[in-house]
């Protein structure tokens, strides 16, 4: 230790050779690499899926805003007008004009 310190560099003690080989073996094994590949693929597909769903949602949302929202608002107004007329008619006891 002391001799290493005197040399100036800080280095980890040498790993026991047998553990290195096991870790390396594991990390180099086909199972792990296949798992890594699968994880990468899954991430890629998930990203694609998320992006396309987002796009679809955006298109559906804007379409809804343009086509359906004005319809809802106008139908609501019409309903209110009808209600008002009905109320007036019942209040006055005569059919409302128009």
């Amino acid at each position: 230790m002391a001799s290493q310190g005197r040399r100036g560099g800080v280095s980890l003690p040498d790993r026991p050779s047998n553990s290195t080989s096991i870790l390396a073996k594991i990390s180099r094994s086909s199972l792990v690499s296949r798992g890594k590949e699968a994880a990468g693929d899954a991430a890629f597909v998930a990203k694609k899926l998320l992006r396309s769903t987002g796009k679809a949602a955006w298109i559906a949302g804007t379409t809804f805003l343009v086509l359906v929202v004005p319809l809802i608002v106008e139908m609501d107004r019409e309903q209110q007008l009808n209600d008002l007329e009905l109320q007036q008619a019942s209040l006055l006891g005569t059919p409302a004009p128009k």
Partner: protein, 308 residues
């Protein structure tokens, strides 16, 4: 909200059983060029981008003046797929003279020099003369056309004469109480093109179905269903056999007491809505929206119409 979904059309009442069609007393069909009138009304509102203001002043019963201002971007045609827009502003002055129902004179002039003029005149009980002209200060862009329409008892026929040696004729005949069939021929001498077309239209008071085929490869089918007094739904299928492009569109048309709302969606990814709201007597507010998702082209407009 449940009311947004129009109720399914009520089952049609059983048709009156009269197998005997009175072939000598058929209704007059509508003109050949207005065959798709109902579908066009619902599916082709005049969408615009920017701001517009229209003012109409009736000077007397027959004569009116029209001022309108339109500001906003206009698309200029280009080869590239991207649309190029330049900001423009126009003022349009127009006058209309209507001596109902015999004579109509209509003229519009824009600040950039474009002039539109129309004449419609009843020469006799059955014969109508129509003329149409578009003049611009660019060469070869001016058009003129003259039509003679003859309206018979259960048929209509039209003869057309235009510049560029354009000749055309059409004929439409009522076949039964609801069905009418028609045909047209045209010859464009300048482009050395000629063609024939056939059309059929079936209308009852609940629905209108039309079909048209022309030798240019165009096939147009449309169907309009009147769901109720206020609501009608329209669909249209247009395909060009030669260039192999097909467009299907579907639209709704709501005519309410205070407003008229038209919406449409088509297979090109284009969504459009057009709202005309009556704010007051003779004061209308217009909102127009058009989204083209494929081209990423979004158009919004608002306007005001004063006087009617």
């Amino acid at each position: 909200m449940a009311t947004t979904v129009p109720p399914p059309p009520a089952p049609a009442p059983a048709p009156a059983v009269d197998a005997k069609v009175d072939y000598f007393n058929l209704p007059c069909p509508i003109p050949f060029e207005e065959l798709h009138r109902e579908a066009m009304m619902s599916l082709k509102p005049d969408l615009f981008e920017g701001m517009r203001f229209d003012f109409t002043k009736m000077l007397n019963q027959k004569f009116s003046l029209n001022h309108s201002v339109l500001m906003g971007p206009t698309e200029i045609p280009s080869q590239s797929t991207e649309t190029i827009k330049i900001p423009t502003a126009h003022y349009e002055f127009g006058s209309t003279f209507i001596d109902h129902p015999r004579l109509l004179l209509w003229g519009r002039i824009l600040t950039d020099g474009r002039l539109n003029a129309r004449v419609k005149c009843d020469l006799s009980e059955n014969l109508t003369f129509k003329a149409n002209a578009q003049l611009t200060n660019e060469p070869h862009m001016s058009h003129g056309m003259i039509n003679f329409d003859y309206k018979g008892n259960d048929y209509r026929t039209q003869f057309q004469l235009g510049n560029g040696a354009l000749l055309g004729a059409s004929y439409i005949q009522s076949v039964t109480q609801h069905l009418s069939l028609g045909g047209e021929v045209f010859w464009a001498g300048q482009h050395r093109k000629s063609g024939v077309g056939y059309a059929a239209r079936y209308n009852t008071d609940k629905m209108v179905a039309t079909g048209q085929v022309a030798s240019t490869g165009m096939v147009l089918l449309s169907y309009v269903q009147k769901v109720s007094e206020k609501v009608s739904l329209a669909s249209e299928l247009m395909c060009n056999y030669l260039s192999r492009d097909v467009t299907a569109s579907f639209g709704y048309d709501y005519i309410l007491r205070q407003c008229r709302l038209r919406g449409k969606i088509d297979s090109n990814g284009c969504v459009a809505a057009f709202l005309e709201e009556r704010l007051n007597m003779g004061l209308n507010f217009i909102l127009s929206a058009e989204l083209d998702h494929r081209k990423k082209d979004y158009k919004f407009g608002f306007g005001l119409t004063v006087g009617e």
